[in-house]
């Protein structure tokens, strides 16, 4: 892969975009000015902080008001919608458990997307990687015999492999053929859906045996009881134990990225590919590793959804990923690529989703939650971008004259 750096449309073109813009990078709160803390500086920083808070409040408020207006204009009652969303997500009995169950795969997807982002890659194909992971898990789960926990373990490993390999296609194309991963991961989403759809039509792949299903239904064989993820009940809220697993994963990934040699090198690669290359970090090795790991997480999310029971009935059907991949990616963005924040954000996004189930009573179509979600994400992009731009302008200007 020598000479890659001087070729035209390669990684760096897109990486730079990703690295040097705000939503992908944590901007330290004190990017400007001398670092000693004079009272003046401290008050400036306080002012900055309050500005950020005000900006966030304004933007989120604007997104919610806009959503309410859309509801009202189409003849709905925005107050009722809001109440229904709250009931469906947290207020109703047992709904917190449901929300946790939905948040779990979102969080896992988000963690993977944080990893690839750290390496300066823009993986936006989690939806497809998740589907391929789930498909491979369903294939293994339907065929492998043996003790239930063993089968569960193997099918989860299969989901990891499925997602990793699907992302691996994009990685290979990126590092061998210079095809930007933004486009390939995206295209592979559609291909994954069509491949899985095909697999669900033929019996030697995923289609369940004829008994127990109506004839033209595309559905995989249901996982047996023993191979499902166990569920626990806390205070009347039932959810899969994979939720704990996801939180543990969040801590592990957070630690690995911040404290290990691997995380260090990934960051180096993400921020400056050429410096990293000189220091011995091969972009193709670490980059494809990160991209495949990111896919592996998405795939695992698919496996968890299949065996978790919060999505469908332990079977694979067309449209199975139900936009968890896309949402997980958005979770990572809104969490500003931090694992701890992703835990919270995934719960909020899951709330919007479980809340939408209660919208039927208000007579408002449930797709409204997609609108709310989209507007919220757009609104959340504004404050950091705005602050970034302002700080960057100053920092650049002052460094120009002080070098």
């Amino acid at each position: 892969m020598s000479g890659q750096d001087i070729r035209g449309f390669d990684s760096t073109d897109i990486d730079h975009a990703a690295v040097s813009t705000p939503d992908m990078v944590e901007v330290p709160p004190h990017t400007v000015g001398p670092l000693d803390e004079s009272p003046e500086v401290r008050s400036q920083r306080l002012k900055l902080l309050s500005e950020i808070v005000v900006l966030y409040v304004l933007c989120i408020g604007a997104a919610l008001v806009l959503s309410a207006i859309i509801v009202e204009l189409t003849g709905g009652d925005s107050g009722a919608v809001f109440n229904a969303l709250l009931d469906g997500s947290v207020r109703g009995p047992g709904r917190i458990g449901t929300t946790v169950g939905v948040a779990t795969p979102m969080l896992v997807v988000a963690l993977g997307s944080i990893i690839s982002n750290r390496a300066g890659l823009v993986n936006i194909g989690q939806e497809g990687q998740l589907f391929m992971g789930a498909a491979l898990a369903a294939y293994v789960g339907a065929r492998l015999g043996g003790p239930g926990p063993w089968v569960l373990f193997v099918l989860l490993v299969a989901s990891v492999v499925g997602g990793a390999l699907w992302a691996g296609i994009a990685a290979a194309l990126k590092y061998r053929r210079n095809v930007p991963e933004v486009l390939t991961t995206l295209l592979l989403v559609t291909i994954a859906a069509q491949l899985a759809g095909y697999g669900l039509k033929v019996q030697w792949l995923l289609l369940a045996p004829a008994e127990g299903r109506s004839n033209r239904q595309q559905i995989s064989r249901q996982l047996e009881d023993a191979t499902r993820i166990p569920r626990v009940t806390w205070f009347g809220n039932e959810f899969p134990i994979s939720a704990f697993f996801a939180i543990a994963l969040a801590m592990i990934v957070g630690f690995a990225l911040a404290r290990t040699v691997w995380g260090f090198r990934l960051r180096m690669l993400g921020h400056n590919q050429r410096t990293a290359h000189r220091a011995g970090i091969s972009a193709s090795r670490y980059g494809s590793g990160a991209l495949m790991l990111s896919g592996a997480f998405a795939g695992l999310a698919g496996g968890l959804m299949l065996a978790g029971g919060d999505f469908g009935n332990y079977t694979l059907v067309p449209g199975f990923p139900s936009e968890i991949g896309w949402t997980g990616l958005l979770v990572a963005l809104v969490a500003r690529q931090r694992c701890s924040a992703a835990v919270l954000v995934s719960f909020i996004f899951a709330s919007l989703r479980t809340g939408s189930g209660f919208l039927a009573s208000t007579g408002v179509e449930r797709r409204i939650t997609d609108v709310v979600q989209g507007l919220l994400v757009l609104a959340l992009l504004i404050p950091p971008a705005w602050m970034f731009l302002r700080q960057r302008r100053r920092a650049v200007a002052s460094s120009e004259d002080r070098t």
Partner: protein, 545 residues
């Protein structure tokens, strides 16, 4: 004694000025643009502090100052790229606000940029038309280009793609682009950094032509004393954002200018090198170059053999380049920018693969283009653009000091933060890096200190070869001094040093042996003691002498 020959040169120019000789600190000639108490702040930093400046028609006005003195901000204010916080600008006596480059152009201000404002894939005439308004008429623009080319002796083909032109030619395009708008005020920003000595002479001739015959006002921004003394009529000297002095060139000399510019007496040789002012060939009162230990017997530490590198658009940027550097020797690679220096440094940074040839370090062949191969073979690099391949701006000082060897402070793959920090503290002290601590993000450091971080990291790895590409570019005098001393010490300790620089003075000051690179190959070689400025100049121009 330093200033005298230059006074003679300026004297010659005074003759050219046909009677508009200097007549005191307020010379005659119409005031074309006048800046009054112009101030620009960036946060706590004052880049320009109550600057007064007058450019007069028919005169060349030097603006002299170190890097970071505020020259470039001042020029950006004059072409509308930066808005001042306070102060007034008057053009031809009328107060004006220059809100953007288009407004400045409309007021007859044009600038020839140091790093050019050209778009490489476009044609010459398209570049010249860029930034105008009204309908785009290619034939009109082409005619105008031809006309200007002829009038000023700046021969260039209007239909050539700019990217295919050599650097010197591109500057012509840049000048034509500027003159096409018939500016009454012309600003040249460090114009000679990309030119051979002969091309520089030609440029100054053109400048005189423009000034004397057409009565334009010219500002020549530079940090090189020689250039200012040779080419200007009056000088404004800036330091730390302020104007510290304004003198008639003919009535000053190099040491006075240098003192005003730096703010103290300049005695050290390396400082004077940084100011672009030495008498290089007055050898060998100088103590350094002769102290080289019998280098001919020292083992060859770096051996480059027939290097060939092709750029992505297909032409050879290194064409059969061969070179040896012995342990303890400093070899200077002189040449005009854009003749393969970048590719040479990239090869030694593992950033580019070779099409042919090989690199040997301490006798061992090193694979080219493989991540980290050169670094682990013992090649340290201070890159030309540290932001490009020297540091990671977003990481901390401590992390940047351990980019290559982070495993040394890690156990079972987990980084020991204490050790990382301790190592950083040691290096910060040793290399006198000024920062708020090991955890400061690198971008919070000044350029000179960022450069020290690079140097500290590369030297702490005890390399057998050190490649320094344009190591003093963009640094202030103190930092330059530190850098050159450091390179000298490193060589004395037995490291083979390859110094790639387009500043001839720097090479003449530091190198034991000088090679000249042109079109990707070494076309001449000489010992420092035999160095002949005329011959180097010819070689740099691509002529085998």
């Amino acid at each position: 004694m330093a200033g005298e020959p230059h006074n003679d040169l300026t004297g010659a120019h005074t003759g050219l000025r046909s009677g508009t000789g200097p007549s005191g600190p307020a010379p005659d000639g119409r005031v074309a643009i006048r800046l009054d108490q112009v101030t620009k702040r960036y946060g706590a930093v004052v880049a320009c502090d109550q600057i007064d400046l007058e450019l007069r028609a028919g005169r060349i006005h030097g603006v002299l100052g170190e890097n970071g003195a505020g020259k470039s901000t001042l020029m950006k204010i004059m072409i509308g790229l930066v808005l001042p916080d306070s102060g007034t600008i008057s053009i031809d006596g009328a107060r004006t606000r220059l809100l953007d480059p288009t407004a400045a152009a409309a007021h007859g201000i044009g600038m020839v940029h140091q790093h050019f404002s050209l778009v490489e894939p476009l044609r010459v005439w398209e570049n010249v038309a860029l930034g105008d308004s009204g309908r785009l008429r290619s034939s009109e623009v082409r005619d105008r280009v031809a006309e200007i080319s002829e009038r000023y002796g700046l021969d260039v083909d209007p239909d050539a793609i700019v990217g295919d032109l050599p650097v010197g030619m591109r500057q012509r395009v840049e000048i034509i682009k500027c003159l096409r708008r018939d500016p009454s005020i012309l600003i040249f920003d460090e114009p000679t950094s990309v030119l051979t000595p002969a091309e520089s002479e030609m440029l100054f001739e053109t400048l005189r032509h423009v000034v004397v015959e057409e009565g334009r006002a010219v500002a020549l921004v530079s940090h090189k004393l020689d250039e200012i003394l040779k080419a200007t009529d009056e000088v404004t000297i800036m330091r730390q954002g302020r104007v510290v002095d304004h003198v008639i060139t003919a009535r000053t000399d190099a040491s006075a200018l240098a003192e005003a510019m730096v703010g103290r007496k300049v005695s050290l040789r390396s400082e004077r090198v940084g100011l672009g002012h030495i008498e290089p060939l007055q050898s060998d009162t100088n103590e350094h170059t002769s102290t080289r230990p019998d280098a001919d017997d020292a083992p060859v530490a770096l051996w480059l053999e027939g290097l060939r590198v092709r750029s992505h658009d297909g032409h050879l940027v290194l064409d059969d380049l061969s070179l040896q550097v012995r342990a303890g020797e400093i070899v200077g690679v002189a040449g005009v920018e854009g003749n393969g220096q970048r590719a040479l440094a990239d090869v030694l940074s593992s950033l580019v693969g070779l099409e042919g040839g090989q690199v040997r370090v301490q006798g061992q062949r090193v694979a080219s283009g493989v991540a980290g191969a050169m670094a682990s073979a013992g090649v340290g690099v201070v890159p030309e653009d540290r932001h490009d391949s020297g540091v990671v701006l977003e990481m901390t000082v401590a992390e940047n000091l351990m980019l290559v060897d982070v495993t040394q402070v890690a156990k079972a793959g987990v980084i020991n933060r204490h050790e990382l920090r301790a190592n950083a503290e040691r290096l910060i002290q040793e290399f006198e890096i000024s920062c708020s601590g090991p955890d400061a993000p690198l971008f919070s450091l000044s350029g000179g200190n960022q450069q020290r971080v690079v140097l500290a990291r590369e030297l702490s790895r005890q390399p057998s070869v050190l490649v320094a590409a344009q190591p003093t570019r963009g640094l202030d005098v103190g930092a330059i001094e530190y850098m050159t001393e450091c390179l000298r010490r490193v060589a004395q300790s037995g490291v083979a040093v390859l110094l790639i620089s387009s500043e001839l003075d720097e090479i003449l000051d530091l190198a034991h042996r000088i090679v000249v690179i042109s079109s990707g190959r070494i076309i001449g070689e000489m010992q420092r003691a035999e160095a002949n400025l005329g011959r180097i100049g010819l070689l740099m121009g691509g002529q085998a002498a």
